[in-house]
Point group: C2
Chain length 525, copies 2
């Protein structure tokens, strides 16, 4: 991919923007920020799609050598639109990208969080190389067809989808921030707040160095009045949303054991322990067929929601039926509870099972182990060790002896059922900012205006909590700042899964939204 | 690997053997067949190990181009020891190797069945390349160490193990037949029966063309009085055995469905169907925690054993405790029933489960499918379609709608639980030759003599049935001939699994055994 046709070639003198901003801090501008950003986008759509594709072509799995190349690329792009940007680095960690855009005279500071790393990829399950961004006329499952990236002058259909790892989670915000700032520079528009950009390179790996990075940058970060999290998908209805909380996440792995080695299913079948069946009984004991978790104490672990959250829940669109139809589902867990309700209680899911082989590699053996990877989603009040302990207790109650390493012969010959449990001691923590926060109305009004413009009047959904995970607790619980999540990705972006994608209309919405948030009336704070 | 040091270089004039046989058909020979074979083996042990390694180096997965090369190699080796050998070929099938060794004046004909194909290999789980035979001083799990193939003059430890696909199942018989015939030629010994060798190239793939091949060779095969099956492992005690029946086998695959695509476990976890858990409930419903199959009618499907078989069962060594200790097991299915008893009822096992990922590839998704491969072992009276129907009925009783292809959207939106069932319509058929057969005592006496010599007096175990599968029914049920299985491989040969191996002492036993069987007294038949 070359950058010869990029939108940025037209604006070499971005330095003027900083100069302008210095001279004209709070004057009424001829054109509004949202109008300027919208006009710029409409004039440059093919180039913006190509620029996004270029950003997506950088592999970005945390802790790999390649992620540093992605970080340098993003840093340089941010510098090119006038943001004073540096990489913070800790040995063995992915770089943190920290950018500052000071607005002389501004009386408040917005923190903007994005993560530029992505989930690991099991490339066998992707239609295309996940780092070779590929454009489709619609979603693949809706019959979309592959097309080339658009040339200048070509019409861009907002229903196009671009397929690549991190298209939705979470490079789209970066691809929208850049043109907004560029449009402001071209039009002489000044943000109404100081902007601090913090792009995390380890979110999908648990943001394990973020606390230390935030400590390193504490001088800058402590100025921030409120954090905006540019991450997550739109509401399942396709409508944009604004979210006050996130779930936490952790994972565990459980291995059950049969004989010391794989056994021929003919010679030993009917006699040797059937590991797949042993694991099946264990997993079935953890959750009933309706989806109720049966682990003792599971539903006694978390903070109940308050009246504001209940009111917001009641006002949310009832989208379950449409969503089920879209996903090809007749049945969901714990019916008739709705998805927004279910997101406010802790979840336990099977992320994966591995035992022997299936398909063409299936052989006539009794596998000597069966492994389940469990995904846990926490809500405010939960901690990872607390839920891990409940699960371990449950496994013991099923008659298993718990080990932390593969059992030795002595252990094997002492216990009829053995389960190895690994992981689950740590994880991202759940968080909720109270909806009574005074900043909430300002942010909500700005987001509402952008949503009205992009998706129609009254389209913004306000949710007390979303299902995904962000390192929000570092901001809300550790640093004590309010934080609001402002997602832009389409809800069907295949986040974390193969064939992740972004709908182009959602990139356009992100440009509208960020322009609005960056030019919120200064008087409201 | 080169053949420059092989045992065969010393015997270029093998044609003399045929000439001798013609002249001296039934005279009393100076040295017995078993003695001649034993002496030959003792004089050539390093070369015999190297020859076996060479045979094992030929990849032999049925239906691949390479298996034909293996067949040609074996054909040429058989020709070199005086067997009139040809490849029979059917388009798209693996070749059948058919060899004839006529003994003028012989009044009976033994059929000798071996299969030269092997199970598929999942190379990731092997310690060494499965077609690069590797010698160890003991079994790997007993702390054996890798050593080079022995040079001439080097002492060969019978506890050595050779690791390679098909070492135990089922190339070892070929590696023993060749030196037995060579030793007879060198010593002027004549077999007491005509010998028809049939080496199957598709046994591990269900011997699907064997019936047609047997039809093609019917002129030759109809002369056979009794079939000997050189396949299967020794008794679990390590003692040699003689077996009157085999189980049949078939396999099925069951796939359960969640949403149309993998879903982010944060955004949808607790609401979207948890496919791993759905499959767990289904598998748990098929078999209880003690190992009893719960599929309705499962235990009403097969022929009960007769009094001879019950008597043989009662006389078999009680080896369960030792076997459990060796395999690291405290508990087996349906205790206190013994392994030999359990082999006489149909088995249902989980051969493999695949859903999402575990380990380092685990991701925060709810997988959209979970797949189980089921292994079924049949006993006399069972058929594959009969057991498949019972399983399909069971799945339906658990509330699943059964499909044969991935469900379309209309199907998804009609049924809350959907399971795809594939396979299971065919499989190898179980078989049992009655122990009252008049040939049985002759064969049993010869096998007993070889076992006495190799493993000690009274070491032969006589079993009414073994757990493994052979295409025995084509001989017993279709062609109406008696058939007896005479295994030689060590019971812990990792048959069908990674790191398959043969203990050298078992190769030496095979040489003793085959020499005995090929020179059984002519008067007994």
């Amino acid at each position: 991919m070359t950058r010869s046709n990029s939108t940025r070639r037209a604006n070499p003198n971005i330095i003027f923007f900083v100069a302008l901003a210095t001279v004209l801090p709070v004057v009424v501008q001829a054109q509004s920020g949202p109008d300027a950003a919208r006009a710029y986008r409409e004039a440059n759509e093919p180039g913006l799609v190509r620029d996004f594709a270029e950003l997506l072509s950088y592999p970005n799995w945390a802790f790999t050598p390649q992620i540093r190349e992605a970080a340098i690329y993003i840093r340089d792009e941010m510098r090119a639109v006038g943001v004073d940007t540096e990489l913070l680095e800790i040995e063995g960690a992915s770089p943190l990208i920290l950018g500052e855009l000071r607005v002389p005279g501004a009386t408040r500071t917005l923190g903007i969080y994005v993560h530029y790393d992505g989930q690991p990829v099991d490339i066998r399950n992707w239609t295309h190389n996940p780092f070779n961004p590929t454009l489709y006329t619609r979603a693949m499952e809706a019959g979309g067809e592959e097309i080339s990236l658009p040339e200048d002058g070509e019409e861009v259909d907002p229903e196009w989808r671009i397929y690549a790892r991190s298209a939705g989670d979470d490079k789209a915000p970066i691809a929208a921030i850049l043109p907004v700032l560029r449009s402001f520079a071209e039009s002489g528009i000044t943000p109404t707040s100081n902007l601090i950009f913090m792009f995390d390179g380890e979110e999908e790996a648990g943001s394990r160095n973020l606390a230390q990075y935030m400590e390193m940058a504490s001088d800058v970060l402590e100025e921030i009045d409120i954090w905006l999290f540019f991450d997550g998908p739109a509401h399942a209805s396709g409508r944009p949303q604004l979210v006050y909380g996130v779930r936490g996440a952790s994972g565990m792995e459980v291995t059950v054991y049969g004989a010391l080695r794989n056994l021929h299913s003919g010679h030993y079948g009917n006699w040797a322990p059937d590991t797949g069946n042993v694991l099946a009984h264990l997993l079935a004991s953890m959750k009933d067929e309706d989806g109720n978790v049966l682990v003792e104490g599971w539903y006694d672990t978390f903070d109940p929601i308050g009246p504001e959250e209940q009111a917001a829940l009641d006002a949310m669109p009832d989208w379950d039926d449409q969503l089920k139809e879209e996903l090809g589902l007749v049945r969901t867990e714990v019916e008739p509870e709705s998805l927004p309700e279910r997101l406010l209680v802790p979840a336990l899911n099977v992320r994966g099972i591995t035992s022997g082989n299936t398909g063409s590699l299936a052989r006539n053996v009794i596998p000597n182990t069966a492994v389940a990877s469990l995904g846990i989603r926490m809500v405010k009040g939960n901690t990872a060790p607390q839920l891990r302990e409940l699960i371990v207790n449950h496994i013991e109650q099923q008659g298993f002896h718990i080990v932390e390493e593969d059992p030795d012969m002595e252990t094997r010959l002492r216990y009829p059922r053995i389960a190895k449990v690994t992981g689950g001691m740590s994880g991202s923590v759940a968080s909720r900012t109270t909806m009574a926060n005074p900043f909430a109305q300002t942010i909500q009004a700005a987001a509402s205006a952008a949503a009205d413009r992009a998706f129609g009047l009254g389209s913004l959904v306000v949710a007390p909590g979303m299902g995904g995970t962000l390192p929000l607790y570092l901001f809300t619980e550790v640093a004590g700042k309010p934080a609001i999540v402002v997602p832009v990705a389409n809800h069907d972006n295949n986040q974390h899964a193969p064939d992740e994608n972004l709908r182009i209309a959602n990139l356009w919405y992100a440009i509208d939204l960020y322009a609005q948030l960056m030019t919120m009336p200064a008087t409201v704070f």
